[in-house]
């Protein structure tokens, strides 16, 4: 330990070094390679060469904007649904959970303990054409006699909502759980109705959770391609499906790289707009 005493200023850097080096080499450098690849042209057979091929980005926007827009729309709807579904649930656990809070929390994240693909396939079983959900919807008349849920955008959005819901529910719970109940009581003592107390005290105080939850849900949802693959058809394909097939079926690496960056840029722009709308201090703090 003598070394650390003499070079105290050095200690944090020594602690950081291995982990940050790993992130630099296997996160930052790959992003550099992705950028480099995205500006190459050529074909897989003759090889790709770097020549500032901005056309790849033009192509990504021109030809693939329907997939890009669809991904963002699906992700946005799924995020909104997850928020609406999990807010009352998180509220209930935080305020009424009592000594069962931890058990209830484990129940919320339980879906995460079942392999992602398996739980998506379980939805395939549940929503199957001969399955209970579809026959009920047909009986009630919501679906026609031959109506389906699988292979529709509803199924894909429902799958995304389910798969990312715990990302929404957990930050919401953390924020709601941290609220000092005396503040709500004070509002009620000052003649606020239950609804007013909720809207003017509880809801604003839970905003950090709402912000964290929406970001944690929306970002991974935009790049998802499993739900579209297993619950949808090519008509519901998302940008992730296109990137995947460009890499592995079309062997169009520059095109895939340009699409990846376009997706990343789109997500960052949306986050920036979101941050402006709600105020940046809420985003970082």
């Amino acid at each position: 330990m003598g070394f650390f005493h003499r070079h105290r200023g050095l200690t944090p850097y020594l602690l950081l070094l291995p982990g940050l080096a790993w992130l630099a080499v296997f996160f930052l450098v790959p992003l550099g390679f992705l950028a480099y690849q995205s500006l190459q042209s050529g074909t897989f057979d003759v090889g790709y060469a770097f020549d500032w091929a901005w056309g790849n980005y033009w192509d990504a926007l021109q030809r693939y904007h329907p997939w890009l827009v669809r991904s963002l729309v699906y992700a946005a709807i799924a995020t909104l649904l997850a928020l609406v579904i999990s807010y009352p649930l998180a509220y209930w656990i935080a305020f009424r959970g009592g000594r069962w809070k931890n058990v209830l929390l484990v129940m919320i994240i339980a879906p995460f303990f079942v392999t992602y693909l398996i739980r998506t396939l379980a939805w395939q079983t549940i929503l199957a054409d001969q399955g209970p959900v579809v026959s009920l919807l047909r009986d009630v008349g919501i679906l026609g006699a031959n109506g389906r849920v699988l292979a529709t955008s509803t199924a894909v959005v429902a799958g995304i909502t389910y798969n990312f819901l715990p990302f929404m529910a957990l930050p919401l719970y953390v924020a709601l759980e941290a609220i000092d109940h005396r503040l709500i009581e004070a509002a009620e003592d000052l003649y606020a109705s239950k609804l007013q107390a909720f809207l003017r005290v509880t809801l604003p105080l839970s905003m950090p959770g709402v912000v964290a939850g929406t970001l944690l849900t929306f970002i991974p949802a935009t790049g998802d391609f499993i739900n579209a693959q297993l619950l949808g058809t090519p008509k519901q394909a998302m940008i992730g499906n296109v990137i995947q097939s460009k890499f592995f079926n079309l062997l169009d690496y520059p095109g895939a790289a340009a699409l990846s960056f376009t997706l990343m840029a789109a997500v960052l722009i949306l986050i920036a707009i979101y941050a402006r709308a709600i105020g940046t201090e809420k985003l970082t703090g």
Binding site: P12, Y13, L23, Q37, P88, L117, I118, Q130
Partner: protein, 283 residues
């Protein structure tokens, strides 16, 4: 009115929990299915065969073992690297802290498919790497580090520094203080981070799908099998994993509660010596 609202919310919560848990119930149910054919989509009849013979599909068993190996190695390495970063971030002031926080945050804020594509272009362009076990491991460690940092940091921030000062006052060297006081108290955080990393790694599909070459992990096996019909044993293994994870989660929660009790033993609370003794002994 209050009564109605209170119960309305409770009813809603039960409904929401049903929504969250029904798919899990379906997976459990279909692990006992006797499908007859290749497709395990419709209920045909009850059997215990798959549970007795869970390792009956060799390719599946190999994929499972590979996934466990990768998850174990990835979580150990990511936990060590991440814990060191968390210690530096919480305990020391240094230049470049903002940049460090950013480098931790951005991988978590990047869609997984972009991470996967970026790594693949690295591995394709730098010929040192051949896609397989090594590249999957590298990728998993990379995306796990940030999550470990966040988990351990949360634990370190709530840490009562006076406990360390007390150890130093009582003559402990800095290393002894770290080993005997700091480490046991932040252990739940470290263990929680390791668990999270393990769960993320064993469940990862997207990044492995891009960077595995011909190597097949458990999720990749399922994805391949989804086209030709998934053997029921997949459900059995998924449920074994589920049980183990839930048990481990319970253990972490219990540990955390225990560590909190340990840390909350303050001198002023130890009124009677007879009460202070067992608390001191268990610490």
């Amino acid at each position: 009115m209050k009564f109605v609202r209170r119960h309305l919310l409770t009813a809603y919560a039960i409904f929401a929990f049903a929504y969250l848990l029904v798919p899990i119930a379906v997976v459990i149910m279909f692990s006992f299915n006797d499908p007859g054919g290749r497709y395990n989509f419709t209920w045909q009849g009850f059997t215990l065969d798959q549970w007795k013979n869970w390792d009956g599909v060799p390719a599946l068993k190999d994929a499972m073992i590979l996934s466990l190996e990768i998850a174990l190695l990835a979580s150990v390495v990511a936990t060590v690297l991440g814990t060191l970063i968390a210690l530096a971030l919480v305990r020391y002031g240094f230049r470049g802290r903002g940049a460090t926080n950013l480098l931790i945050f951005v991988p978590m804020a990047t869609p997984e498919v972009v991470l996967a594509a970026a790594l693949l272009t690295l591995f394709l362009n730098v010929t040192v790497f051949t896609l397989g076990f090594g590249t999957i491991l590298i990728a998993h460690i990379m995306f796990c580090i940030s999550y470990v940092v966040v988990t351990v940091k949360a634990r370190l921030i709530g840490f009562d520094r006076s406990l360390e000062e007390a150890a130093k006052d009582l003559g402990a060297t800095p290393f002894e203080t770290f080993r005997l006081v700091t480490l046991p108290l932040i252990m739940p955080g470290i263990f929680g981070g390791a668990m999270l990393a393990f769960a993320l790694s064993i469940d990862d599909f997207v990044i492995s799908n891009f960077n595995s070459g011909t190597t097949v992990t458990f999720p990749l096996y399922i994805f391949g099998a989804a086209q030709r019909g998934i053997p029921v044993e997949v459900n059995v293994i998924a449920m074994i994993l589920f049980g183990v994870t839930v048990a481990a989660m319970g253990f972490v929660t219990w540990q955390q509660a225990r560590a909190e009790r340990m840390a909350s033993v303050r001198p002023e609370q130890e009124v009677a010596p007879s009460q202070a003794l067992p608390a001191g002994a268990s610490a």
